[in-house]
Symmetry: C2
Subunit: 285 residues, 2 copies
């Protein structure tokens, strides 16, 4: 195994994987090597460009910390995260579409009674949210847990605000006997992904903005069903057509306002969520 040129080196690298014990790892790395080499050959990568790529990847890794995951931002902004999401969530009729989890989920959000105000007194236009959780065949699901979280009207989540003493604009609810949940909060604003690092500079060089349209996150879990991770987007937000992370789906866009009986505009969101049954439900015990 020697004397490689630009044509035969790919098979040489693939041959070097012959002793890989884990069959799936072998498949993944074989495909990675073929695609990576094809990319380098297609564009005839120069030495200066190779150096720039090594430097970019190094700075991206060194930007990562407990509070910042720059490689996830890179995956998000190149559409890889949403592609992985799409491949792993082929949804049946009646099931709500998924989108990215994002970096602002907190596992320990408190469970609150239905109808609670989760705004923790933060300024903003009041928003009332009413949801119903069903199976994809339409049966309502009682006792499902519904995690919600969203940004404030400046586009910041609670965990981004050093002066906040507690969690805000996030909570967990449990659906009632009809699969319903409800809460009030404030209107979320559109916001930029963190863009003061290598990925932000990449977006600039590509002539792209870092913004995401306004949305509320939902994570909905019920026994026997695939946990649903999604957002609902404000139908009137800017950036619906140029989400920096390619997360918008038409089925996830809903009005965040409606007219009441007197013709006055009220901020409110109503949405029906459908959950996909797990493929192998064990028998009752």
């Amino acid at each position: 195994m020697r004397d490689f040129d630009e044509h035969n080196i790919t098979e040489a690298v693939v041959d070097s994987l012959a002793q890989t014990r884990d069959a799936r790892l072998k498949t993944v790395v074989t495909s990675l090597v073929r695609h990576l080499h094809d990319f380098v050959r297609d564009i005839e990568l120069s030495f200066d460009e190779w150096n720039a790529a090594i430097d970019f990847l190094t700075r991206t890794g060194q930007m990562c910390s407990d509070k910042r995951q720059e490689f996830i931002l890179l995956s998000d902004t190149l559409g890889v995260s949403m592609l992985v999401d799409a491949i792993n969530h082929r949804m049946p009729e009646g099931a709500t579409e998924t989108t990215v989890l994002g970096p602002f989920f907190v596992a320990a959000a408190p469970e609150l009674p239905l109808g609670a105000d989760i705004s923790a007194g933060i300024d903003g236009e009041k928003l009332s949210v009413n949801g119903v959780v069903c199976a994809s065949d339409g049966r309502p699901l009682a006792g499902a847990t519904v995690d919600v979280w969203h940004a404030d009207d400046d586009g910041y989540y609670d965990v981004q605000q050093a002066d906040l003493q507690s969690l805000a604009m996030r909570a967990r609810f449990r659906t009632d006997g009809d699969g319903r949940f409800a809460f009030t909060s404030i209107m979320p604003a559109f916001y930029p992904i963190p863009h003061d690092g290598p990925v932000g500079r990449m977006l600039e060089a590509l002539g792209r903005h870092p913004y995401r349209p306004a949305h509320v996150h939902f994570m909905i879990a019920a026994e026997g069903y695939e946990t649903l991770i999604t957002h609902i987007f404000d139908a009137e937000s800017p950036y619906l057509d140029s989400d920096a992370v390619f997360g918008v789906k038409n089925s996830l866009i809903a009005p965040f306002s409606c007219e009441d009986q007197s013709g006055k505009v009220q901020r409110g969101l109503t949405y029906r969520f459908g959950l996909k049954p797990l493929p192998n439900i064990k028998g009752d015990s």
Copy 2:
């Protein structure tokens, strides 16, 4: 631009590059996105695998320092560095083939007189090296600078040895009127690339060893010619057929020993280097 599935998201990401000012950057990122998405689709990357990839890239970036470039090791061990080398050094007849620079070059090596001993007293079997530097058409090149560096007989370079007070097993020479240079040193040994980081763990998982066959590095510069960066490999070294970085070419393998007139084996290397003329040589001034 919304409502992407696993099939149309790639064109959406490519479309988002429309405002990229630098045409070459646009070409490179467009190709990267297409190949990266094809890779993810081909293997149907799972969420767990995506998480593992994010974690691997993060640890690789965080292993990098002034003294360690883990992303270059990754590029080397996946054959990307040698592929970039091959694409950028398509050599004419008579020109010596190239290979990777590696991490152990030092720009400030001292210029020494022809015939000098560069071993700095380090233990090892004596090796005498005789070279001639020519243009690819065969004319000898006087006054070319020849940087040489190599590992000791334990496989370590001087810069890896904290107890060494000065440079050793490296120097710069200048060819004489016949294009010749010569020096003595000690036999280099095969050695592992640094493998105590993420790339080392990757090689283990792939059932690969981290070794490179024994070699001496050369960087040869002459006005009007492309600077040649290459190694000459010891024809009797282990790992010639499984170099961890895919750097071995048949034309770069040479005997490091020969029999003298009395039949006794002497360690010695003789090699003729050919340099490629630069494409656009300006007229005499």
